[in-house]
């Protein structure tokens, strides 16, 4: 999202009356639902100790907004790195606190989607179980789309609430597609065909990236490649030779070879220089890009590195993998709100947790598509009202949110980190994606076994 909340509100007020009324109505409905939900929770705190909340810098506005709307609750805000890039800061602090028996925060935000899978197991045993003891308001969990809370469950116990969901969609530069006369693809095969055509007839343009840390969760997960599938507790199905894996890899190989996929990672310092808007490429070089929903704020926003792309970029529903009856997509990250199992007043803390994770006042400032559907509706309305996107994001996002393939399980080890340091250097050196499947499979197998899991190649 390129605008901060005040400028968004200004943009809203300048819109035609009808749109404003619709939004106001939606807003009213949403806030009524939230108020309704809040009535179920007793807003007062039982104890007078402030609730210690750990967040990263990007979440500070959310907490501050919620604090303002709930002045009776005392919050002690501590900022930290959010576990960024697998730093393990939550784990290390929790280990130390476990040893001395005090010091845990009451609520922690983690930017790592697999943190709960780590923290919920020995020796950490940190998160509180949320779906028991009546901590959550009735019906709250129904407000989450199917599958969006999967990363929070450990054997039936819910141990976190999603802040935002990071499903992959197909980002498309509508202006460029029109310019070259392509139709937006609906299957991966069609996408590949366009890519080959682009490489031949429109060199310099790209249809995706193969240099990123999380490409396994964009391509392989969408193809339902069973390489990190926890089929039973503590058992991983890891079969890089599966047809889904090899099929997707061989689909990517020619695109990688002829340059239709950029070899750089989207956060490279010079990505903007190479693929952004320039005088000879007024709409940038990116024709299409399968990628997570949060590209809306990180890559394609007006002040982002790719330059001013207003009115040209839209999100389309995820591509369909031919071998499967329904469409699946990957997901890259998304933050989690975790409550400590050591709090003195679980109900009061749970109230704050629910507020931060599901209230519109907090989630409107979320950096990604909120996991809680009512909050998501409000968020996406603000996005689409900004007029930045060629077509509203809502339809594609609403479709994609329930299409995330659950067979790519979040586990105590980080598949993004594994792809980055085992596979990416080889891709950079010129190896094909197909050649790296066994490497990825072997690395995952090593990490899994060292964490005490059994690895099988057949279910």
């Amino acid at each position: 999202m390129k605008d901060n909340s005040t400028s968004r509100r200004r943009a809203l007020l300048g819109r035609p009356r009808r749109l404003f009324n619709t939004l106001a109505a939606t807003g009213l409905a949403v806030s009524m639902a939230t108020v309704g939900a809040n009535i179920a929770i007793a807003p007062a705190q039982a104890s007078s100790a402030p609730i210690v909340v750990w967040v990263d810098a990007a979440r500070v506005p959310q907490v501050k907004a919620w604090e303002k709307a709930n002045p009776s609750v005392k919050i002690d805000l501590v900022t930290f790195d959010g576990g960024d890039n697998g730093s393990g800061s939550i784990e290390s602090k929790v280990s130390l606190f476990n040893r001395v028996g005090h010091g845990w925060p009451d609520i922690v935000f983690s930017g790592e989607a697999n943190d709960v899978q780590k923290l919920g197991t020995p020796p950490f045993n940190f998160p509180a179980v949320l779906n028991q003891g009546g901590l959550l308001p009735k019906g709250l969990l129904k407000g989450y789309a199917a599958g969006t809370l999967a990363d929070c469950y450990i054997g039936g116990k819910l141990e976190c609430l999603r802040n935002d969901v990071a499903f992959d969609v197909l980002w498309v530069n509508v202006a460029l597609m029109k310019q070259f006369g392509y139709t937006v693809p609906t299957t991966w095969q069609q996408w590949q065909a366009i890519g080959e055509d682009v490489a031949k007839n429109h060199p310099g343009y790209i249809v995706g990236s193969i240099g990123d840390d999380f490409d396994d969760e964009i391509y392989l997960q969408a193809a339902q490649c069973p390489i990190n599938d926890e089929i039973k507790p503590y058992t991983i199905l890891d079969n890089p030779a599966d047809a889904n894996c090899t099929g997707m890899a061989s689909l990517l190989d020619p695109l990688q070879a002829d340059g239709a996929l950029s070899p750089s990672y989207v956060f490279a310092s010079t990505y903007g220089k190479q693929y952004g808007v320039s005088s000879s490429f007024p709409n940038g070089h990116v024709l299409m890009m399968p990628g997570p929903a949060w590209y809306s704020g990180a890559i394609f926003c007006g002040t982002c590195e790719l330059g001013e792309l207003k009115g040209t970029v839209a999100a389309y529903p995820p591509l369909h993998w031919a071998a499967s009856p329904r469409t699946y997509t990957g997901d890259v990250g998304g933050g989690l709100w975790i409550m400590s199992s050591h709090t003195k007043d679980p109900q009061a803390v749970a109230n704050v947790l629910v507020g931060l994770a599901t209230s519109t006042v907090s989630q409107n400032l979320s950096q990604g598509y909120p996991g809680y559907i009512p909050a998501a509706k409000s968020w996406i309305a603000l996005q689409d009202a900004s007029g930045f996107w060629a077509t509203p994001l809502a339809p594609a996002f609403a479709t994609a949110v329930s299409e995330v393939w659950s067979g790519w399980t979040e586990t105590p080890w980080d598949t993004i980190g594994i792809w980055t340091d085992s596979v990416l250097p080889n891709l950079t050196a010129g190896d094909s994606v197909s050649s790296q499947l066994p490497v990825l499979g072997a690395a995952i197998s090593n990490y899994a076994q060292s964490d005490g899991f059994t690895v099988v190649t057949k279910p």
């Binding site: 810098a57 790195d81 960024d84 602090k93 130390l96 930017g111 956060f267 990250g333 933050g335």
Partner: protein, 320 residues
């Protein structure tokens, strides 16, 4: 080994001939060779200076540019004063002036740590070098072992200890361990054992000084360079220490600059995609400015400490 220096060269035929020729002849032969050698010397020095200094120059220039200019312009281009001010405003305002809080914390912890380290290391080095007591070698060995022990293994035990002492999450939890500076003890030990002449101490003892008097009146005045050296290294070690404060402090407002910088990096979109550019005002120029704030005191202290690292402090002390 040192006393074999003078004799062998004295008897070389070449040197004898040149000695016979007299100094005048040698002086006339030197200039062209000297100029060439001097030039070569300067070139080598400047090349290494370039290697060490160019990245630092880049860092100084970075806050004068915008994030876009950092990437698109020549790396060593100078930006504008306007950008410099804007960068400062952003990083100064970040999370209620947290950068200054970190700066103040660093100052507190480091000053305390240096004073404690000096009070320990200088006398200890002297004692190890110039007094004889049982267990001297054992102490030296233990010091070495502690220096070589990987710090990451000491994280948990130090944390547990501080908890037992009820000092965790307080400034003492870092200042006290900062006082343990084995590297300083060794510097001090090597210094005292190689530069203070024994007869000077013996003379003082004969004059009736007790051991403390010997230390205070003889060794300490001569020890200005080592006090400056140990003090400076202790300061830098404390100022740049990351692990100890990271483990000991629970909240970001107690962090010193290294931990604060680490947090800033995780709040910079270029280094952490999760911290999207829209949410955090910390871009790379702001990070560069924070880095400059973090390293400037080291430069300032070094500049002043240099005065004490003078040449030839031993000159005159051995003349009897």
């Amino acid at each position: 080994m040192a006393h074999v220096t003078a004799q062998p060269l004295r008897n070389e035929p070449a040197t004898r001939a040149s000695l016979a020729a007299g100094p005048a002849r040698r002086r006339r032969r030197l200039p062209s060779r000297r100029v060439g050698a001097l030039l070569a010397w300067f070139i080598v020095m400047l090349a290494f200076t370039g290697f060490f200094v160019v990245p630092v120059i880049w860092l100084f220039l970075a806050p004068t540019k915008t994030d876009h200019q950092l990437v698109y312009w020549n790396p060593l281009a100078l930006g504008s004063f306007h950008s410099f001010l804007r960068t400062w405003d952003e990083i100064y305002a970040f999370q209620a002036h947290e950068l200054l809080v970190w700066l103040w914390n660093s100052a507190r912890y480091s000053v305390g740590g240096v004073l404690l380290a000096l009070a320990c290391a200088v006398p200890a080095g002297y004692g190890l070098a110039l007094t004889q007591f049982i267990g001297r070698k054992v102490l030296l060995s233990i010091t070495l072992i502690v220096m070589i022990m990987p710090a990451s293994a000491l994280v948990l035990p130090l944390f547990l200890e501080m908890n037992l002492l009820h000092l965790s999450n307080s400034a003492w939890s870092v200042v006290l361990p900062f006082g343990l500076f084995p590297f300083g003890v060794y510097l001090s030990y090597i210094f005292f054992s190689s530069t203070i002449p024994k007869e000077l101490l013996a003379a003082a003892r004969v004059d009736g000084c007790n051991e403390w008097g010997v230390f205070r009146h003889v060794a300490l005045p001569l020890a200005r360079p080592i006090v400056a050296l140990v003090g400076f290294f202790a300061f830098v070690s404390d100022w740049t220490n990351f692990f100890l404060p990271f483990v000991m402090f629970y909240t970001d407002r107690q962090y010193p600059l290294p931990v604060g910088l680490d947090y800033l990096i995780s709040s910079t979109a270029a280094f952490n995609p999760v911290a999207s550019a829209a949410a955090s005002p910390v871009l790379r120029p702001e990070l560069a400015m924070a880095t400059l704030v973090a390293i400037a005191p080291v430069f300032i202290i070094f500049f002043f400490a240099q005065r004490a690292l003078v040449t030839g402090m031993l000159a005159g002390s051995t003349k009897e």
